[in-house]
């Protein structure tokens, strides 16, 4: 019996584990969260997807994989490690009332009361609308959704949605009654407020701010999979450059579900889903074009702005550095407990540096865990 290991229990990993179990493989599914569901569902998997929880799957939650030596033996590995938010440093972004957009949503899903709180949602991408709609349903007062993308691009994207009626309906329902403002982004945050481009100062309890998503490529890289331009390279069957390792997800939910199933079923049965995946990939490309980051955001980060929150490294200390490696050695930027996972993508954007290669462990671990690192 083929032993398949799936890492990541979001839409992609759940679909992959289900498809693999359906095909008679012995499946183990690991995730570092307390419950399955990934970033979007966080333990509350919608009824129509609960069929993915095939009882034959061995599930382990609360397990973070940070080195190859931790992996149980398997014939096939499907990586479905998802995405995280991109944070761009601006003055005041380290204040406690400034959180990620998905970050604040995750905390509210984790039990933070938000009713009556004044929230500004800012940054870029379709996630802003989903977060604003969710927080409003939980009683928050959404003062504004500030989207950096220019109005003409958002208008063109919205016009294109008629080809996807379900998505148009979803967008209309999410956005109904929300103040959505393109061409606006946070210039600075001060205790209890945010100053927005084209809008001025808004007093708020929370600024929920993210500039899109970056793929969690650390584990695939650590296992030797080729990564280019922030994406894991895969063939049409979702196979990475390492023959027995597959990668799925990190796109929209539809695409992640399809990629997961293609990886889980394997080439023979997965091919039936290639056309549907191609449509989902095209839709994701339209999103990338509509919400591409404008060049003005490059001047958001002032010399005094802290770019590395772990080591409190200001942007001015980064200027003399040639690349990520020298920044790490000379300034300790990216050497703290987040291991560059917040400042790395920010500096890649600000300085145009490619991300540095990964060394185990990719997460800071307890000493006890380090002792059994074999690679």
């Amino acid at each position: 019996m083929t032993r398949t290991l799936v890492i990541g229990g979001g839409p992609a990993g759940l679909a992959a584990a289900w498809a693999a179990a359906q095909s008679g493989q012995a499946v183990t599914l690991l995730d570092d969260n307390p419950a399955l569901g990934g970033q979007i569902w966080r333990g509350h998997i919608p009824a129509r997807y609960r069929r993915f929880l095939d009882p034959r799957i061995t599930v382990q939650t609360g397990v973070q994989i940070h080195s190859a030596s931790q992996l149980p033996p398997a014939d096939r590995i499907i990586l479905a490690t998802g995405t995280r938010e991109l944070f761009l440093p601006f003055p005041g972004w380290t204040l406690p009332h400034v959180l990620g957009a998905g970050g604040l949503q995750a905390l509210v899903k984790g039990g933070l009361p938000i009713a009556g709180k004044r929230v500004v949602v800012a940054g870029s991408g379709p996630l802003l609308l989903a977060v604003a709609a969710y927080l409003r349903r939980r009683g928050a007062k959404i003062l504004l959704v500030a989207e950096q993308a220019p109005y003409p691009r958002i208008a063109a994207f919205t016009r294109g949605l008629w080809r996807h009626p379900a998505k148009l309906l979803e967008a209309a329902q999410l956005g109904f009654g929300l103040r959505y403002r393109p061409d606006s982004w946070p210039l600075r945050a001060d205790p209890g407020s945010v100053t927005l481009q084209g809008h001025g100062v808004l007093r708020c309890d929370y600024l929920a701010c993210g500039f899109g998503l970056v793929v969690n490529t650390e584990l695939p890289e650590l296992l030797g999979c080729r990564v280019e331009n922030g994406r894991v390279l895969t063939d049409p069957d979702q196979r990475t450059t390492v023959p027995h390792i597959y990668f799925a997800g990190a796109g929209s939910v539809d695409r992640s579900l399809l990629e997961g199933q293609i990886a889980g079923f394997g080439p023979a049965r997965g091919r039936a889903l290639h056309a549907a995946r191609a449509a989902a990939v095209t839709f994701d490309r339209c999103i990338d074009i509509a919400f591409a980051l404008r060049s003005e955001l490059l001047s958001l980060t002032t010399p005094e702005t802290i770019v590395c929150r772990c080591e409190d490294v200001p942007f001015s200390a980064i200027w003399p550095q040639r690349d990520w490696r020298s920044a790490k050695l000379q300034t300790r930027c990216g050497m703290g407990p987040c291991q560059g996972r917040i400042c790395g993508p920010a500096l890649a954007h600000l300085c145009g540096w490619p991300a540095a290669s990964v060394r185990p462990p990719i997460f800071p671990t307890r000493l006890e865990n380090l002792l059994d690192l074999r690679d």
Binding site: D32, G43, H97, A106, L107, V108, G110, R309
Partner: protein
């Protein structure tokens, strides 16, 4: 409901509440940065490490990835 304490202050939260959400009910700040700034959660998903607290005497626990349990003692600087 689950009873726990944050810096000695008693608190009850519904089951399924994360430690980070419990602390935020009481205060916005979780830790001091290396230069002494007050910091709180950023990512909510276990990546930024800004939500670290001392939990039952263990320092540097990522509070956004942990669920509250009865009798937990959480402290922040």
């Amino acid at each position: 409901m689950i009873s726990l304490t944050v810096n000695g202050q008693p608190l009850t939260v519904p089951p399924g509440t994360t430690v980070a959400a419990a602390v935020m009910r009481i205060q916005p700040a979780f830790r001091r940065s290396v230069t002494g700034e007050s910091r709180g959660p950023l990512c909510g998903m276990g990546i930024c490490m800004e939500c670290r607290v001392t939990l039952n005497g263990h320092p540097h626990e990522r509070s956004c990835q942990l669920l509250c349990a009865a009798g937990m003692e959480i402290t922040t600087p």
